[in-house]
Symmetry: C2
Subunit: 371 residues, 2 copies
């Protein structure tokens, strides 16, 4: 029902195949974020056509609304949303810490008030896994504590230890054989804490490993240093998921350090703010220079938006506040991310990933594609 | 380049074919409203797949933003928006009267301030046609004055006379042979004014006739009475366009009275407010009764939304404020409207339009499809 195989490598980078009950995922892969059961501003058909093979949904949002019991009643996330491909749910921990104002952390878990209506809730490893079993994703995550950045080393150490204890309880609480459970490695930017966390998490024999607590504000070099350090430690035969990352540059650098899975709101959120990712760098569609620009967002892209819409048209729709602008920009940004990953996989299988990485970083560093 | 032919009739109702430089339109037809160059919350692919053969765009909105000169520079509305099918633009008159607070009406035209930024503008018959020639739609409308309802008979009479004088100037100002220009009949709910308006407008030999000033608040019976009265007067060989109408019931009643073309924001606007049109009547997706309802919006509909989404899922997305809800509901409402027109055309060609009309009105009057 589940398998993961590395099929090509180039240095630390690897191309592989993740098989789930709802289909295969070629890795390295990017997972569009479907927070509340939909990827914002688009339909799942758009998501599929942009090239997505797996999507992420947020446990925190879905447990509050519409509630995991309702989702279970309607056949889990696959039945409820109509997306019939692989799905991964996060543990809810990150959102509790980033979205709720009133919360109380204890060894048991986190008590918090909903950001929607102030109602009282609790997330514990057991409750997180219950919710995730109700949601029915193919891959579910252990409940972890993600410390903020910056934080005193002692606080990071404490969160890392608690993450280990919560991972054990998550493992205990998980009872669905049609789901893969991933453990999460914490430890902030401290290599010794990362090493300790990895070794404790690995002892529990999870199907895969999340790398949490990165891209939370720390310098980019720190993130890459942690990935470099974890690469030889984490078992090569299991998938590695760098949570919440990142820019196109981040993705290629993380793939170069052995990461297989990513999720991030950047392509979708930035689209709604008028920002396009292109093969020549980012462009802000509001910019006056695109007023009469008949070119597509990215001349090298073959997505629906680039096939049918000019920068001038997209700029107009965005400035006019038309939802269609958010849809068209989201379609392109997702296609750009997903196609970038496809190119990474391709270059890996051709044994020329390092060359691809250099070319990609050079192109993205060039002056933005507007002129 | 242009033609219109009535191919089947049933009483006053007619099925026909309108040929334009950008393709054919089977009539009676509904035109989705693409106010600012996009149908709100969907892409033109969605509009096409929902069954649209022609769309409407608003002269008032587009002249203010992005400006008709820019649209012309980018190849007119077809080049600018990427919609390659037939397009109709209105004259801008109706929006000037409904959207602007500060305006001054004179024989020359209307001076007004933009609802966007307060900037000063003028619309005259000449300027309206200039803008419409820049926008480059297949069908353009004469500049008219649409009096509010209720209004004193003398005010309606004055607006009707002015509409005739403005129609003459519109005719003079129009110089593109690749556009069809329609005149507009006004006259409110007064049959003698309608008759006078029709006769004056018909003298100018327009390619088709808009029927304006209806569905502006008057009792439904008054609208139908005006249509009944105009049917034998307007030339049977030219298309008739009932502007800004209406509900599904309005459409079938107007088709029964010889109307060929419609436009209305109801299916798109109501979708964004959570209201679905179905073969069993309207349903409000916010309603608690749909909380766990696994049925599609309309069990008889084959649109993308009905094929892939349940009422429970749509209710959740709408309550969560997800733009995707607006997209999915808009796709269904457009498909419902467009399919209703398709069924009217079909029944007309089978000579059973009257039976279809009775069945449709009965089904829509039944208790809403929720239970």
């Amino acid at each position: 029902m589940f398998s993961f195989a590395v099929e090509a490598t180039d240095g630390a980078a690897r191309a592989g195949r993740l098989v789930t009950p709802h289909g295969e995922v070629e890795t390295p892969a990017f997972m569009p974020v479907g927070t509340a059961g939909a990827v914002k501003a688009v339909t799942f058909r758009d998501v599929r056509e942009a090239g997505a093979q797996i999507v992420l949904a947020n446990t925190y949002h879905l447990m509050l609304r519409p509630g995991d019991a309702l989702v279970a009643e309607r056949g889990g996330l696959h039945g409820f949303t109509g997306w019939d491909g692989p799905i991964l749910t996060d543990s809810g921990g990150y959102q509790v810490f980033s979205l709720t104002a009133l919360r109380r952390l204890s060894e048991d878990g986190v008590a918090f008030r909903s950001h929607l209506d102030g109602s009282a809730h609790q997330l514990t490893p057991e409750r997180s896994l219950d919710v995730q079993m109700n949601l029915g994703a193919d891959i579910v995550m252990a409940f972890d504590e993600c410390p903020p950045w910056p934080a005193p080393r002692s606080a990071v150490a404490e969160a890392t230890d608690r993450t280990t204890r919560w991972a054990r309880r998550s493992r205990q609480a998980h009872r669905r054989s049609d789901q893969w459970l991933f453990g999460i490695v914490q430890g902030g930017v401290h290599l010794d804490l990362r090493e300790k966390s990895a070794s404790e998490i690995m002892e529990m024999d999870f199907a895969g490993h999340g790398i949490g607590g990165l891209s939370v504000g720390e310098p980019k070099a720190d993130m890459l240093r942690v990935l470099d350090h974890l690469h030889p430690i984490l078992p090569a035969t299991r998938p590695r998921y760098l949570m919440g990352v990142g820019t196109p540059e981040d993705l290629v650098e993380a793939v170069a350090r052995g990461v297989d899975l990513f999720d991030c709101v950047l392509p979708t959120r930035n689209a709604r703010n008028g920002q396009l990712f292109t093969s020549e760098g980012k462009i802000s569609i509001r910019n006056a220079q695109y007023r009469a620009d008949g070119r597509p967002p990215d001349p090298r892209c073959a997505c629906f938006t680039c096939r049918t819409a000019s920068r001038a048209y997209l700029r107009h729709l965005h400035l006019a506040g038309e939802m269609t602008a958010a849809t068209l920009l989201t379609i392109h940004n997702l296609a750009f991310y997903l196609d970038t990953l496809r190119q990474m996989r391709h270059s890996l299988r051709l044994g020329r990933f390092e060359a691809f990485r250099q070319e990609m970083l050079r192109a993205l560093a060039a002056p933005a594609g507007g002129s």
